[in-house]
């Protein structure tokens, strides 16, 4: 029985795909739960979409920047894109927000904005900036796990043990909450 549990532990561990495991320096007790992180999941249909707000909102976690013409775009890590009116730089200010879960990056050509929405790449027609339209979606093109610097939805926001993620075809991890978890997957940095 013990043997079975032990091998189950190893299997679970290996499936974590998390390289930072170092058995030689670890003294973790797999039977004991500790405070860590638990993933919250949501249906793709609920979170893989573009939503536009014609009013500014506060920055939660400032991210990367992009500029085209009189508009500056700034990512809010994992949340979406702030639009900054830069027609007069000394009066530049946020004017709108594109909600796009899991977003970190932006690029634009002409009237089309390209952005990551969790692991998808979406193409958004911004011809009418107050009514952006999603015209194309590449599913799962941001799919590689960098164990040291995971995409925002792939691992908890801070170090600690976390419930190893499960992968589904129709739902995504959307956030992480503090919870009591087993000592398998661990974010070290």
């Amino acid at each position: 029985m013990k043997m079975l549990l032990y091998s189950l532990g190893i299997i679970l561990f290996v499936s974590c795909n998390w390289r930072t495991y170092k058995p030689s320096i670890d003294n973790r007790d797999y039977s004991k739960k500790v405070m860590g992180w638990k993933a919250k999941y949501a249906a793709d249909t609920a979170v893989k979409k573009v939503k536009f707000y014609n009013i500014p909102r506060p920055m939660i976690a400032a991210g990367k920047i992009y500029v085209l013409g009189n508009t500056i775009f700034q990512n809010d890590i994992g949340k979406g894109i702030h639009l900054i009116d830069n027609a007069s730089p000394s009066n530049a200010q946020r004017v709108a927000f594109i909600e796009l879960g899991g977003n970190t990056d932006i690029s634009i050509k002409g009237n089309y904005l390209y952005a990551n929405n969790y692991n998808d790449m979406v193409v958004i027609d911004i011809t009418n900036i107050t009514a952006p339209v999603e015209i194309k979606r590449f599913k799962g093109v941001f799919n590689t796990m960098d164990t040291q610097r995971p995409y925002t939805w792939q691992a908890p926001p801070d170090t600690g043990f976390y419930e190893c993620p499960k992968y589904f075809n129709d739902s995504m991890i959307v956030s992480w909450v503090k919870d009591s978890v087993q000592q398998f997957c661990q974010r070290r940095f």
Binding site: Y66, P89, R94, K109, Y112, V123, I135, F138
Partner: protein, 247 residues
């Protein structure tokens, strides 16, 4: 006579305006914006290039409605930044700088690489020089942090010509011979790099926690820890703050 002259100039002026407006709007419809040095994907011409950790993915976006993925090129572990310059892509990864030719845009070809110790390292470049910052610490790796300058005149054999040690370097931006280097808690350093092997520190701002920059004509757009700060850089080595948009 006066009236005729006036009419003539008025018509000439008006028609030239119209022409300018026409070409401006045509350009706007296909114009590509400018990203920071930390960007993970970029657009060059009709193609979008995405650095997805271990693969460089290529998308044909000639027609955005029917954009298609054209290919996927295996790279080493830990690719995270991509900087386009003319017909080349400079890619920053955890173990070095990779230079790809996109002369054939659908099929990037590896020209060279400058391997170095493990670090986090965005790149900017011009015709002859590539500037790379190496950030150490967790999770980036143990490294002599600083600005690493490569001569890339011979694109197939990048040559390290200067290692300028400085703490916590992050995003960077190049405006002609002036280089802006973000240093997180250590501010923003402004170098004259007209002689690339001997960068000269001209000014240092320590007002904010600087992450990345985009020099955009006379404007320096800075990503700081709490948002955005804009500087007038009509004098490139003496930025004057115009706006702070944070929290």
């Amino acid at each position: 006579m006066r009236t005729i002259l006036f009419l003539f100039f008025a018509v000439a002026f008006f028609s030239s305006c119209e022409k300018a407006a026409d070409s401006a709007s045509a350009a706007a419809a296909t114009a590509t914006g400018k990203g920071g040095s930390l960007a993970r994907f970029t657009i060059v011409g009709n193609y979008l290039y995405l650095a997805d950790v271990t693969t460089l993915k290529v998308f044909d976006i000639t027609n955005p409605q029917s954009a298609t993925q054209k290919g996927s090129i295996n790279m080493n572990f830990g690719v995270e930044t991509i900087f386009p310059y003319k017909d080349k892509l400079f890619i920053g990864s955890i173990d070095g700088m990779y230079i790809y030719s996109i002369t054939n845009p659908a099929q990037p070809v590896l020209l060279s690489q400058a391997r170095h110790v493990r670090s986090c390292d965005p790149v900017v470049a011009n015709d002859s020089t590539a500037f790379v910052t190496l950030l150490g610490g967790q999770p980036c790796g143990a490294v002599e942090e600083g600005l690493y300058i490569y001569n890339v005149s011979n694109i197939t054999t990048p040559l390290l010509i200067k290692k300028h040690l400085m703490p916590t370097p992050r995003g960077l931006g190049l405006a002609d011979s002036i280089l802006y280097v973000c240093q997180k808690n250590n501010g923003l350093s402004i170098f004259n790099v007209s002689a690339p092997a001997t960068p000269v520190l001209r000014k240092k701002l320590t007002t904010y926690i600087f992450e990345d920059v985009i020099p955009y004509n006379d404007l320096l757009i800075c990503y700081i820890s709490t948002g955005l700060v804009l500087y007038d850089i009509s004098n490139k080595t003496n930025p004057v703050q115009l706006a702070l948009i944070n929290n």
